[in-house]
Every structure is written in C-alpha cells, then in structure tokens.
C-alpha cells in the first residue's frame, strides 16, 4: 500500500474501534483506551507509515506498555478530543451493571491467565487484524497464526469455564 493511496479517514473509521478494544484489553480503562487510540492515530497521521494497520497496533502496544510508567506525563500530552456525539446513557440497572462487571472481571482474569503470545494473537484478531498482520506483529509465520489462535481461543474458553465453575462453587 503506497503512502499516497492510503485513505486515512477510512482507515480511521475502520480501525478505531478495534484499536480501542485492543488498548482496552491492555489498560483496562475505556477512556484511557480511547485517548491512546487517538494518540496512535495522531502519530500515524504525523508519520504516515506505509503499512498503517500494523504500525497502528505496534504503536498502540508500545503506548499501552508505557502506560503504567507514564500515566502522569501522558495525561499532560493527551487530551480527549471534544466529542461530537453524546455518550451512551449510563446503565440504570445496578444489578445488571454489577453482573456485567463481574463477567468482565472473570473474562479479564481468564485472559490474563493466557500466555503472552496467545493473548496477543487473540487480542489482535479480536481487534480485526488479519493473519498476515498478526504474523507481522507477533513474528509468527502466517501459517502458524491459525494454530496459535485456535489454541488461544480454547484456552480462553477453558480458563473462563474454570473460573465460572469456581465462582459457582463459591456460591
């Protein structure tokens, strides 16, 4: 993909949700994930990489890695841009909200129980990256991405089931 042919607007529309999901699974903070996603795109617009999707997720991973060390400084440089739409209304059912939070916490624990490579492949695929991009990002062979992804998915489901069973056993 040549630099001149990249439609950055379309790229943004297409990849922003996946980037937010990816970053959210790294920092576990939706707002922060959005801030970082915007920062990634700002940087991409400044650098205009030839392979933008891989570049976006690479930068996102680096930002997420540095997040813990640079929270204070990062907040000075990042500003959540003014939104054009109204945020979704908050959940009015506290019980449902609590159950949702509980489910999310269990999934998060299951995801964190995976190995680094499995988790990364899983998250990248969940963010919308294709196998070649995942291979490029993780260093795997393209033919190995499917196998790794299959294993990661099974492990995630298995881990979550174990956590659910343990939670059910505790009552």
């Amino acid at each position: 993909m040549s630099r001149a042919a990249i439609d950055w607007g379309a790229l943004y529309e297409e990849n922003y949700p996946g980037l937010v999901r990816y970053l959210h699974s790294k920092v576990w903070d939706a707002d922060r994930a959005r801030e970082l996603a915007q920062e990634v795109f700002v940087r991409a617009l400044g650098n205009r990489p030839d392979d933008p999707r891989a570049w976006l997720f690479t930068v996102a991973a680096n930002l997420a890695r540095d997040e813990a060390r640079t929270v204070v400084r990062r907040k000075k440089h990042l500003a959540l841009l003014r939104t054009e739409a109204v945020s979704a209304p908050p959940t009015i059912d506290p019980v449902a909200e609590m159950e949702a939070e509980q489910r999310a916490a269990t999934v998060r624990r299951a995801l964190e129980s995976l190995g680094e490579r499995d988790r990364e492949v899983l998250l990248l695929r969940d963010a919308g990256l294709g196998y070649p991009e995942i291979a490029q990002r993780t260093g795997l062979a393209v033919s190995a991405v499917g196998t790794t992804l299959c294993r990661a998915r099974k492990r995630l489901v298995s881990a979550h089931a174990s956590l659910e069973e343990a939670h059910a056993a505790r009552g």
């Binding site: 529309e13 999901r21 617009l45 841009l81 999934v107 991405v145 998915r153």
Partner: protein
Amino acid sequence: MRHVDDGTIHAWLDEQVTDPLEAAWIEEHLDTCAACAARLEEERATLERAGALLGAIAPVADTSRPAFDALVAKARDAAAGSNGGADGARSRVRRWIVPASWAASVALALALGWAVRDLPPADKPSTESQQAPSSSVEPATPSNAQGSTSAVAPPPPSGDVSPRQAGTNPKSTTGARPSQPSGSSRIAPPESDAVQPAPVPAPAVASPLPAAPAPPPPRPEPPPPSPAITPSDSAAATTAPRGGGGGGRGGRGGGRAAGVIGGQAGGVPAGQGGGFGSGAGTGAAAAQGRLVDGMVVNGADAALLRSADGTVWQPITRAEAAVRTGMPLYGIEGLTPVLTTISADGAAVRTVYRLPTDALLEVVQRRREDPARSVTVVAEAPVVDVQNARVQQQAPSVPQPTANSVNQGRILVPEPVSAPLWSTVRGDVLLTLSGVADPAALASRLRPD
C-alpha cells in the same frame, strides 16, 4: 486421507485462507468428512465463545469517536510543535532548563569550594604580615625619644641572633657593670640572648640576600625578664626622666629602640646619644654615622676604606687581622668579603660585603673586653609590651647581673640617623652589621671563619 487441522479450520472460519485452491479443498473436505465436519462445529463454537468473552470485556460501543478532522488538526499541531515552532522551542527549552540549572548549581558549588580551599584561614596571618615588622619599623622621632630613657626592646625571634655563645663566656660579663636600679627605664626584652637591634628607619624592602633563612616563629611563651645591656656610661641617661614610651613597635628583631640607649648619654638627646659604652660626647658622632672609638654605629654607605665619618681603615688580610686582634673573624655565610680592614688602633675589624643588590654590607667586630666599653646589664628590666610599645615597670628589686646575663641581654644602640644597625655578641666579640635595610636578617648567618 488428509484431514483439516484445527488451525486451518480457524483460518477458514476467520476467512483468512487466501489461497483459493486450498479454500476450495477445505470446503470440499468438510462436506465429505464427518469427523472434520464435527470438529468444524466444535471449533466454530469455541471461536464464537471466545469472541463472546472478548466482547464482554470490550468497552462500551464508542459513539463518541472524535472526528477525523480533529485528529488531523491535532496531528498538525503536534508536528508544528516538534518541527521548531515557537511553542515547540519553548517546550524544548523548558525541558532542558531545569536539569541545566541543577547542573550549573552543582558546578558553581564545586568551583566555589575548590576556590575557597586554597584560601588561607582568616585568623592565620600570612607570612608577609609576620615579617612585616622587621622591614617597616618606623624611625623614632626625636620628639618621642627625647628625654626618654625608656627603651622598648621587642623580643626578636629566637633565631635572629645567637648570643647564647656569648653567654657562656664569663669574660664578657666580668667587665659588665651593673646597671642602674630598676627604676631606670631600660627595658630588657624577654628574649634573653638577643642583642638589641638598633632602631631602623628601614624601607619596606626584603632582605637583599637571596635564600636567607627565614627566622623561626616567635616563641609562644614569653621568657622571664632578662637583663639589658646598656652603655656603661649611661648613668646620666638612667637618671633621666623617662619619656612616654620611647619604644616603638617591635618587630622581628628590628623593633624600634628609640632612645633606648642612653638616650641622654653624654647629654645627647635620646636617639642621638652615644651607644655601646662610648663616652659622653661620642654619641653625637656615632649618631652621625661615625666610628666611635673604633665601633661603627652607622656604617651605611661607607666607603670601602673610609667610613662615613671619614675614618680610614687599613686593608688587611683576614688571617692577619685575626692574629692582630686576637679574636675570630666572623663573616656572612654565603657571601664573600670584598674587603677586610682593620681600625687604626687595631681593635676592630671591618669586613665589607657587596650584596647582589649592589649594596655594601659592613660587619664591624671588636672585642668586648674593655670594661669601659662593656655594656651594662640590667637584670630586671621593665617588660615591654611590644604590641603597644608600653613600658611596664617590674619589681623594684633588681638582682645583680650574673655572668651570663650580659650575654643574655641586649645591647641597646642609639637611634640611627640613616641606616640600621644590628649588633650581636658572639663570645666576647661584638659584631655590628650595617649598610642594608634589614641587617637583622643577616645576623643568623654570621659564622666564624
């Protein structure tokens, strides 16, 4: 039969099988192979379950996505800031100003510490200031010396003169006549073995001799009062009323001894009176730089064979001079005599040295065996406050001089007119140095031939 592996099934489910032939083969196989078809459903369920789990942790659908144009503007601002814009420049300066300030502060502190390290302590006098008195003694004026029989004899450093040798010679004390009672104003300095230097209107110059040994520092404890040597015929002077202070500031053996010696001896005002036991009437001549009875009291700028007073000295070899006078000849260590002469009466030997500064140094020596010319010893003389040139009277009872006392005392010389004199006793030999600004500095270099 070849089956489809789990990875390929996930790739096929994810629509990531890019090869059309392989995709066609997988689709055909899954249709014909029951086992693979079952596994396909199993993997599909896993995939969907995993997707559902990941969707559960996904953030709320982002309907607040910022406009792309806003991102572009932000990217443009960021690029401007990093490419040398004013804000970027300020940011870069601000980023470096704090560490640079700290570094400068630390460097400044280190530099100051290093500089202060080389400075002497504030309460420690410098070497110059310690030596200053010897070369900056103010001459006594007739006004403050006249009528004063008080003598201020500052204690010279212990190494300035070495009359200890003289102290061992009883001969030198046998002729010494006891001085007047302690009521006299003669003052014995605390240094017992030093010969009183003459008051010197010396210019503030250093010793002309190179590598002259520095005098040792003053002794910390003041020694007991020691007798002073005064002219034997200065009885009149001792009876004269004491003037105010008389003495000056005492330096390193070069303190002013204004009016010390028989300030009124022979009726001559203090500072002009005859010294060294010269009879009355000779003080004036001595003060004018003449040889008084063969003794030079002012030898500045003396000619090689003629003193300033016109006295003609006879050239003589040193060996012959020693034989004729019967006393060892003393010289200045490190200097070669230019000329050695002897007085007409054969009692004094005068050695002339030419210093590197082209100044002429005279060393006149004579035996101090004539009681008439011997000095008077004052055992318990007033103690001198050298710093303030004040004279304090000591106990009225004055012990008689002992055999050594004369050698431990000081020979008080009259106020010089133009050049300083420095006298010292070595054994029974009285040595007088003159012609240089600070003859005291050379006294320690006196050595017998």
